[in-house]
């Protein structure tokens, strides 16, 4: 597959040369070039004035029995987001110029507000939000919007559902799905309070006690077997993919076949840090007492416990039978491709790992998280896929990745700051409409990648666009009472999200995975057909038809209709029995369009 990627890149470069492309902005309308230059000037000015601001006080890690001390942070403060944005653009533009790939035009305000809302808050803007943004002449309105959205509670909740999917494997714990609601609420609060991300991750990895009190412990219930017993191998797989960006599990059964970076001892050495974790409340048979119950996660109704792996007294792990190779070998806790900490008699091994992982000098954590956030906004990682850092999968922009990672670490793992840096760049604010010379070119960030709305974003966007009658009928806005065992019951939104949860593992942001049943549901279910609160509201004052059409476009596609679209819409409405039938039908076509389900 790598060969194909390279071939495509070479061909596209050849094409660009053949077409005589000289300027990296050729093809962009003049107004857009002016706008891009304006943003670049503003960013450069801000960069010049920028003084490092002190980073927020590095949070104190809860005192642990960890044998490894927290290294003194190498934090030197956080720079102006505009300065970092300018650096992002410099590094991207350099590579575009070198490859002679032209950049697309800047996104217009309609494209920008829709994208920023979807990426930062997980839903489209309301018609009125779009209307006022389009009419504002404030030159700094984009930066202001980014700040506003970062302050909205939906910032945390939409990021939480994204991270939940990263941290909870899709096949997790079939019998007893964990309480995702509490887990996402915990994550959402941390994102909204902008807690330093290293702190969040340590809190997650070192979760202790009843999950009712410490919902982050759900991480361990989710990375568990069918009886909710945490599993060291699953925990290792998830943790290495989520926070280190590596596929350590490829070395689970034998040394990595394709790259010699990972040995089987790296996988099981890391797994040993999780080996003593147990959910003392997990039910069912086979929950025999383990060697240790010191690192334990509790759930209501506790009876018995079982450690996450076969461990020996000092915490070393025994390679289990499923592994084919070196079965029975005893592996001591060891950092991946790193040393073996002297754990001595310390009963808790996870703090040592958590502190090692989130240390400012850790070479995996900073780049992995910076890259994951870059991918979220840009649709493609600098290392892509984001969970596959390896010597054969090099970053497309190594200096950019280093710069982002450095800033993220030096800012004290400040997520909102990282988002500001990325979203204020021209790279983020480019249109996704290709120009001659950058079609099919996705290694250069020459245009915005088109991303498919997640099931959650689709549900919440329908909610915004139809003004509340789509996914959750009014009567069902409240979550039904909890079922036996304390698990919250599903809401209509949950059912919708589950129905649209068709994405296969490893799919990219631009991969469309919805199928026939999803199309049939959106096309033919009554709530998407026979009008919505938005239509009721609009027809109340009997406004001109043009105005209704425009409002419906703003509510769904965050833009005004083009002249041709207006003409077609009016002709369609005229053909229907009543104007209301016409508006209902027009709204139906708008939410069923590619443009609605895509973040472009």
């Amino acid at each position: 597959m790598k060969i194909f990627t390279h071939l495509a890149a070479v061909t596209a470069v050849g094409l660009a040369i053949a077409c005589g492309v000289e300027s990296v902005v050729q093809g962009a309308p003049a107004a857009n070039i002016r706008q891009q230059r304006k943003i670049q000037r503003q960013n450069a000015k801000a960069a010049a004035e920028a003084k490092p601001t002190p980073a927020p006080a590095q949070p104190k890690t809860a005192p642990t029995t960890a044998p490894v001390k927290v290294a003194p942070p190498i934090v030197s403060g956080r720079r102006e987001p505009m300065a970092i944005a300018a650096e992002i653009d410099r590094l991207i533009d350099e590579q575009l110029a070198a490859a002679k790939v032209p950049a697309s035009a800047m996104a217009d305000d309609g494209e920008f507000i829709r994208r920023a809302y979807l990426d930062i808050t997980g839903r489209v803007p309301s018609a009125s939000a779009v209307g006022s943004f389009l009419s504002t002449t404030d030159p700094a309105k984009r930066a202001r919007l980014i700040d506003e959205l970062l302050a909205a509670p939906q910032f945390g909740s939409s990021l939480a559902s994204i991270w939940r999917r990263v941290l909870v494997p899709p096949d997790a714990n079939q019998n007893k799905p964990p309480n995702y609601v509490a887990f996402e609420a915990w994550m959402a609060d941390r994102f909204n309070e902008n807690r330093p991300f290293d702190q969040t991750v340590r809190s997650l990895l070192m979760a202790e006690g009843p999950v009712a009190e410490s919902p982050q412990g759900i991480f361990y219930i989710a990375n568990a077997d069918a009886k909710s017993f945490p599993q060291a191998d699953i925990l290792t797989r998830t943790t290495s993919q989520a926070f280190m960006g590596v596929q350590l599990q490829c070395a689970q059964c034998h040394d990595h076949p394709f790259n010699t970076q990972w040995k089987q001892s790296d996988f099981w050495g890391m797994a040993a840090f999780f080996g003593r974790v147990q959910n003392v409340a997990a039910g069912g048979k086979g929950a025999a007492g383990g060697a240790s119950i010191i690192e334990k996660i509790q759930q209501n109704g506790a009876k018995k416990g079982k450690p996450a792996a076969k461990v020996v007294a000092n915490g070393s792990i025994i390679i289990p039978e499923e592994s084919f190779h070196n079965v029975g070998t005893v592996i001591p806790a060891k950092f991946p491709a790193g040393p073996q900490p002297s754990v001595g008699d310390v009963p808790q091994l996870r703090p040592a790992f958590a502190v090692w992982l989130t240390a400012p000098e850790n070479k995996y954590f900073g780049p992995c998280i910076a890259n994951r956030f870059w991918e979220h906004f840009m649709g493609r990682g600098i290392v892509n896929p984001v969970d596959d850092f390896n010597p054969d999968n090099k970053p497309s922009h190594p200096e950019l990745l280093a710069a982002l990672s450095r800033e993220f670490v030096q800012s004290g793992f400040d997520i909102k700051h990282l988002v500001r840096c990325i979203c204020n760049s021209c790279a983020y604010q480019r249109s996704s409409v290709p120009v001659e010379g950058n079609k099919g070119e996705n290694n250069f960030f020459a245009r915005m990648e088109i991303k498919v709305l997640s099931p959650e974003a689709l549900a919440d966007s329908l909610e915004v666009a139809l003004e509340g009658r789509a996914v959750m009928p009014a009567a069902a806005m409240m979550r039904p009472a909890a079922k036996k065992g304390g698990y919250p019951a599903n809401t209509p939104r949950d059912h919708f999200v589950n129905f649209f949860n068709t994405k296969e593992e490893g799919a990219e942001a631009g991969d469309y995975s919805y199928g026939i049943p999803q199309a049939l549901m959106l096309m033919n279910q009554v709530q998407f057909n026979n009008g919505a609160a938005v239509v009721d509201r609009l027809v109340k004052t009997a406004p001109p038809r043009e105005r209704v059409v425009e409002q419906l476009y703003l509510a769904t596609l965050s833009r005004k209709p083009a002249a041709e679209e207006m003409k077609q819409s009016l002709a369609y409405i005229l053909k229907q029995r009543t104007p209301r039938d016409g508006y209902n039908g027009l709204l139906w076509t708008l939410v069923n369009r590619s443009e609605f389900v895509l973040n472009h």
Binding site: N175, S432, G440, K503, G510, M523
Partner: protein, 425 residues
């Protein structure tokens, strides 16, 4: 493989072409890509189909197809001299000439999720690698791009007893989402949302307006995702308008036929499966859950046998009567068997699956367990052997290699797997 269109990423190309969606246009949107239609099965042979009857939870072989003198049930003779099965499966016994019993399944995974994974995918669960399930592979290998219905349908045939977790969910993994099963949760209802919520004329007006808008977007943005979205809508529309969608309406069958399959969700599911195969769906999976009989299988299997016997025998007889049995392989199996005797425990060392039709040499028993039923005495059948046999019976090259998104080559069936030669005609 032909050179991808420059506007599609390699991955999208693989996905779209594997999914057979590149040539499904009814409106000519995808002319540039229509070349892949040539990939449609052009071998001239009658295409094979498969109906997988999946007994979720692990059915007891001692109470179904591998009885011993000390079994809880009595063994009865079948239409094939020398072959005996459970006294509670008398109708299936009369179809034994069309069946082969594989009594030496030895697969080594005795934990539900791991065993379900292994026996659907042919690979052991390991390291988070996902594999396409057998239905998805059949969809990719046997499905026709121009076909109006999905190429893999999974029907929920009911749960009767302890199910030990949710049903296995077949994933297409690196074959692409178009090979995911279309899931039918209630065979009496068929596919939901097939009818427009507004009058037909009004629906057509809406769809026309949608279609013209889509053309503009696709042209401007040159997006593979938009193409896939439009394709899904075209496929959905085709299904709404297809005469063949009537295959999902089992009430169209005569009362006699419906009676033959029995008044059970499993029976209705088998009937739906036959209707789908009849119109050309290459793979249908019917799941009957509840076989995890930890309290002993005796009472429960007797209860289930009543409707299992009716439905399974009716299915085989019906396919035969319609001339479809030679081209349709029927598979009856669970993720493993149960401990000999009471059947209270999981047992993966020596258990039984059943193959019927499919042009195989039927009316025979493959392999043998010892007197205790605890060991395979003759011809152990591994999971890869079993999968290779199914694929070979369906005319699929089980040695074919796919490439994962990560660039790893993976064969349809893992290397040591070999088809059971005694079964292949």
């Amino acid at each position: 493989m032909s050179r991808p269109q420059p506007t599609l990423s390699r991955r999208d190309w693989m996905k779209l072409s594997a999914a057979g969606v590149l040539a499904t246009s009814t409106s000519g949107w995808f002319n540039t890509l229509a070349a892949s239609a040539a990939q449609a099965t052009a071998s001239g042979q009658k295409p094979k189909s498969c109906i997988l009857l999946w007994m979720n939870g692990g059915p007891s072989q001692s109470h179904t197809f591998d009885l011993k003198p000390d079994s809880e049930y009595r063994a009865i003779p079948t239409s094939v001299p020398g072959i005996q099965i459970s006294e509670y499966l008398p109708r299936v016994a009369k179809q034994m000439q069309h069946c082969a019993l594989l009594r030496s399944m030895s697969t080594g995974e005795a934990v539900h999720p791991r065993a379900r994974f292994l026996m659907h995918n042919g690979y052991r669960m390991s390291g988070g690698q996902s594999f396409p399930a057998i239905g998805c592979v059949a969809s990719a290998e046997l499905g026709r791009p121009e076909f109006e219905l999905p190429n893999f349908v999974a029907i929920d045939g009911g749960v009767d007893g302890n199910n030990a977790g949710r049903f296995f969910r077949s994933v297409p993994a690196y074959l692409g989402p178009k090979h995911a099963p279309l899931i039918v949760t209630d065979p009496s209802k068929g596919i939901e949302n097939l009818k427009p919520a507004v009058a037909n004329g009004a629906f057509d007006d809406r769809f026309d307006l949608l279609e013209s808008a889509e053309k503009g977007f696709e042209k401007k943005y040159d997006s593979a995702a938009a193409l896939a979205h439009e394709t899904a809508y075209q496929q959905a529309l085709r299904l709404m308008r297809s005469e063949k969608a009537k295959a999902f309406e089992i009430e169209r069958e005569s009362e006699i036929v419906r009676h033959n399959y029995g008044d059970s969700q499993f029976g209705r599911s088998c009937l739906l499966a036959r209707r789908l195969v009849e119109v050309g769906v290459p793979f249908v999976e019917v799941t009957l859950g509840g076989w995890d009989d930890h309290g002993g299988a005796g009472k429960n299997v007797k209860r289930r046998s009543e409707y299992l016997d009716m439905a399974m025998s009716a299915l085989i007889a019906d396919l035969h009567a319609k001339g479809l049995l030679d081209s349709t392989l029927v598979v009856w199996m669970g993720e493993f068997g149960r401990s000999p005797g009471s059947g209270s425990q999981h047992f993966a060392k020596a258990w039984t699956s059943v193959l019927a039709g499919g042009g195989l040499k039927t009316g025979q028993v493959i392999g043998r367990t010892d007197k205790s039923g605890r060991e395979v005495a003759d011809r152990p059948i591994t999971a890869p052997d079993f999968m290779a046999t199914i694929y070979a019976a369906l005319g699929i090259n089980y040695k074919k290699e796919y490439t994962t998104a990560g660039g790893r080559p993976i064969r349809i069936v893992d290397k040591p797997g070999k088809p059971i030669a005694e079964l292949l005609a």
